[in-house]
């Protein structure tokens, strides 16, 4: 199988990754993996509130389990290092040291320099800041922004806000696989284009965007800056910052088994940006507010752990996702994927519809059996509207209604995937009988 040609994640070109080059075959042969076994135990332990039955958590695009080591780091920072990092006394110095270590770890997993990482309250703030901050810093040069129709709401809404303020925004269409149409990018670039913002991995269908081609096209015709929302890709697919000449990248901790309430914006050295939160000289004067020291400590540990078994942890995840897709497509008549082919998409996200079955009903039924998946992105799963991403893919309404998203993490096991395939099949059959 030739996966390398179709996506980037199997190539061992991780920036500063460790444990590279371990072949996928090793896992396929079913070799024991002690770290993995330990993780399975931990996950079952963590799912203690449902201890009576096994829980299979497959909604890792919404949020991930906080790893015990991460929780420990957060707890320790709260108990022992409670100083304000801006304080001059030794309590403050201690807190500052925690920030420095975490910044290094978060930078390492991205392949950036520590001083290019600015901590925020999460991915939403990072995206809002990147869009607003760069647009306003560049507005004397132009007022045109290009993004895609399938971005996360925190990018799209930030763009709408900018439109109200007199910027013009082009929302690029995508094809059936959820991949941005390059020819429309070429057509959309204008003399006054100042910013291009494209996500690396779509959170609902897992499509990988052709960032290299986009970077090339942009660089060849425009001085526009390039921002990538990497919230779903961080620690899962490599992002060659230099090669793509990225100006800004958004990250979130709770999607990589870190705590909620913390994220980061990578800013290439020398890129000018207006602050989003003002009123304090934290984060080198660019992001005011007392630093969330425990959260940042947890983010650092989560980044360290994510880097530990790269790239095989991600390859394993990808193989499991492919198995899941095959199992569901073969086992359930009429089932079809939304978005990219499993081998071409992100290693952890699968979006699938079962005609004749309402997604919401299926999600609840699965939950009763201990399997957690979602209908679309968590951020608007309480809304009744169809997902803007699936609509942009041009899917017929029958597909929209029945789409569920299944998202894995590196803790997901083979047994869990087999169990999920069996259970989903049963549930779909039962619902269809009704």
């Amino acid at each position: 199988m030739d996966m390398r040609a179709r996506s980037g994640w199997l190539q061992p070109n991780w920036p500063r990754g460790e444990g590279q080059g371990i072949p996928v075959v090793k896992w396929l042969q079913g070799e024991k993996n002690s770290i993995l076994d330990e993780r399975i135990e931990l996950q079952n332990l963590a799912c203690g509130r449902a201890a009576m039955r096994k829980v299979i958590y497959l909604d890792n695009s919404a949020t991930t389990m906080v790893l015990p080591e991460v929780a420990e780091a957060v707890r320790e920072a709260m108990e022992k290092t409670y100083g304000n990092p801006s304080s001059l006394h030794s309590m403050g110095v201690e807190a500052e040291r925690i920030l420095r270590n975490a910044r290094e770890e978060v930078a390492k997993l991205l392949g950036a320099q520590p001083e290019e990482v600015y901590f925020t309250s999460g991915g939403t703030e990072a995206n809002n800041w990147a869009l607003r901050g760069l647009a306003h810093a560049l507005k004397r040069r132009g007022r045109h922004i290009i993004t895609t129709a399938i971005e996360h709401a925190s990018v799209l809404e930030a763009c709408r806000r900018l439109e109200e303020e007199g910027f013009s925004v082009t929302y690029l269409p995508v094809d059936k696989q959820g991949i941005v149409r390059l020819e429309s990018l070429e057509r959309s670039l204008r003399e006054d284009t100042i910013l291009v913002s494209v996500m690396s991995v779509n959170n609902e269908v897992g499509s990988l965007q052709p960032l290299e081609e986009i970077a090339k096209i942009v660089a060849s015709r425009s001085p526009a800056l390039f921002h990538v929302d990497h919230v779903q890709g961080y620690g899962k697919i490599p992002l060659p910052l230099k090669k793509l000449r990225l100006a800004a990248v958004s990250l979130s901790a709770h999607k990589i088994h870190g705590p909620k309430g913390v994220g980061a914006l990578y800013l290439r050295q020398g890129v000018r940006i207006e602050p989003f939160l003002v009123g304090g000289d934290q984060e080198r004067n660019l992001r005011a507010g007392t630093e969330n020291v425990p959260g940042i400590a947890g983010f650092g540990v989560a980044a360290t752990l994510a880097r530990k078994n790269l790239p095989d942890s991600v390859q394993r995840m990808a193989q499991l996702k492919i198995r899941l897709a095959e199992g569901l497509l073969e086992g359930i008549p009429g089932a079809h994927l939304n978005g990219p082919e499993p081998r071409a998409g992100a290693p952890h996200i699968l979006n699938i519809s079962f005609p004749g079955v309402k997604a919401e009903v299926l999600v609840h039924m699965l939950e009763e059996k201990g399997i957690y998946v979602s209908t679309s992105s968590a951020c608007h799963s309480r809304r009744q509207e169809a997902s803007h991403v699936l609509k942009a893919l041009g899917l017929p309404s029958s597909h929209l209604e029945g789409a569920i998203r299944i998202s894995l993490s590196r803790l997901t096991t083979e047994e869990e995937i087999e169990e999920a395939i069996r259970t989903i099949k049963e549930c779909v059959e039962e619902l269809r009988r009704l």
Partner: protein, 389 residues
């Protein structure tokens, strides 16, 4: 060596009870509150409980509380959100010259966007005069933002009176209550405020979480966009453990408000009286009466505040000069300067802020150590020698 933490206005240690309550949400209850299934619902429920607790501490309705990433975001949101939502009515904002930078810098940002901002002066004691507010009001005024307790000198501003005035004129009134919530009684109805900022880590809760109280009917725009969280007022996956911790901290602060307030006030007075008694050429900054129970701020003439801090740190005492957020800068405090305190005196200022962990013995220790430090530093100071000659 004895460790005495006297920087509770910068941040406070997380209480064990708070941490205890947060831990499950850090570990097994990791669901996303926006998710449909029960894990998410459990997280959602926990957030609503916390919201009720925080609301309870300030006499608000739970649905009037919007959780933020902290006091700074709450202040930014209050000013920017009100300014843009009401700019058709007018473009004038009134604030004071001794606000926290989260308000001051935001006001200056709005100035650059074409809003007019009046920065009110203060009395030598650091108090805003209600008459000054009244005089500053124009037909264009859409927002007044005055802090409740000043973070550097601890003055308690006449919020109730300013709020009454604002209400009579139909102007939205915001108070940055980061330093007052959980320290002195705060009730949004009694204070006549429409918006109020609070922070968890100043009341023994976690860093990275705060809230903005928004009175029902107040016109305000969100600051963070892109997700329906917090009734569409603040986008972003909720910091569930942080919010739960904030809720617990608020509950405990409410229970102990009276007893702790009394105890700390006595300790504060002991500290102030002791310092003024034992050390020459020292002044207390701020108002003696209208003052936070946790704040003492002194200027020691002829010495540098930073040198005092370092000497104190070597004796195990953590204090600060000015606010933590600007303590890295060499400029004297904007608050002290606004109070008319000369540069050289402002440079010799030290803030000591008390908290739950401080005891009578801590104060005795400070009173024992501090006079020696000042004496030693002054012996090396050419300014002091000159003054003595």
């Amino acid at each position: 060596m004895r460790k005495v933490y006297l920087d509770h206005s910068a941040t406070t240690p997380v209480r064990p009870e708070v941490l205890e309550e947060m831990l499950p949400y850090l570990k097994e209850e990791f669901g996303n509150p926006s998710s449909l299934y029960s894990w998410g619902r459990q997280a959602k429920k926990a957030i609503e409980e916390a919201r009720a607790r925080v609301a309870g501490l300030i006499g608000a309705q739970p649905e009037e509380i919007v959780f933020t990433s902290g006091g700074t975001e709450a202040d930014n949101m209050a000013l920017i959100g009100v300014a843009y939502a009401n700019q058709k009515k007018g473009k004038h904002i009134i604030t004071s010259s001794i606000e926290h930078h989260a308000v001051l810098d935001t006001a200056q940002y709005l100035q650059r966007q074409g809003f007019k901002v009046t920065f009110l002066p203060v009395t030598p004691e650091g108090l805003v005069r209600v008459e000054d507010v009244e005089e500053a009001i124009t037909d264009e005024t859409i927002l007044i933002s005055i802090m409740h307790v000043n973070n550097e000198v601890g003055t308690i501003q006449p919020i109730q009176e300013i709020g009454k005035l604002a209400r009579e004129r139909g102007i939205i009134f915001h108070t940055d209550a980061v330093q007052s919530v959980g320290k002195i009684p705060v009730n949004v109805d009694e204070l006549n405020v429409d918006l109020l900022s609070a922070s968890a880590h100043k009341i023994y809760g976690p860093k990275g979480v705060g809230c903005l109280y928004i009175r029902k009917g107040t016109r305000i725009q969100p600051l963070l966009h892109g997700g329906g969280q917090e009734r569409k007022r603040r986008a972003g996956t909720e910091n569930v453990p942080g919010i739960v911790g904030f809720g617990k901290a608020a509950e405990l602060a409410g229970q102990e408000l009276e007893s702790e307030g009394k105890r700390l006030k006595a300790l504060r007075d002991k500290l102030i009286d002791g310092v003024l008694e034992r050390i020459d050429h020292v002044q207390l900054n701020g108002d003696r009466e209208r003052r936070s129970p946790i704040n003492a701020n002194f200027s020691f003439k002829y010495v540098e505040g930073e040198s005092i801090l370092l000497s104190l740190d070597m004796k195990g005492i953590a204090a600060s000069s000015g606010s933590a957020c600007t303590s890295g800068s060499l400029d004297p405090s904007h608050v002290l300067l606004a109070m008319g305190i000369p540069h050289e005196v402002a440079h010799g200022s030290v803030r000591m802020t008390l908290g739950r962990d401080n005891t009578e013995e801590d104060i005795d220790y400070v009173l024992e150590v501090l006079p020696e430090i000042i004496e030693r530093l002054r012996a090396m100071s050419p300014l002091y020698k000159k003054a003595g000659d």
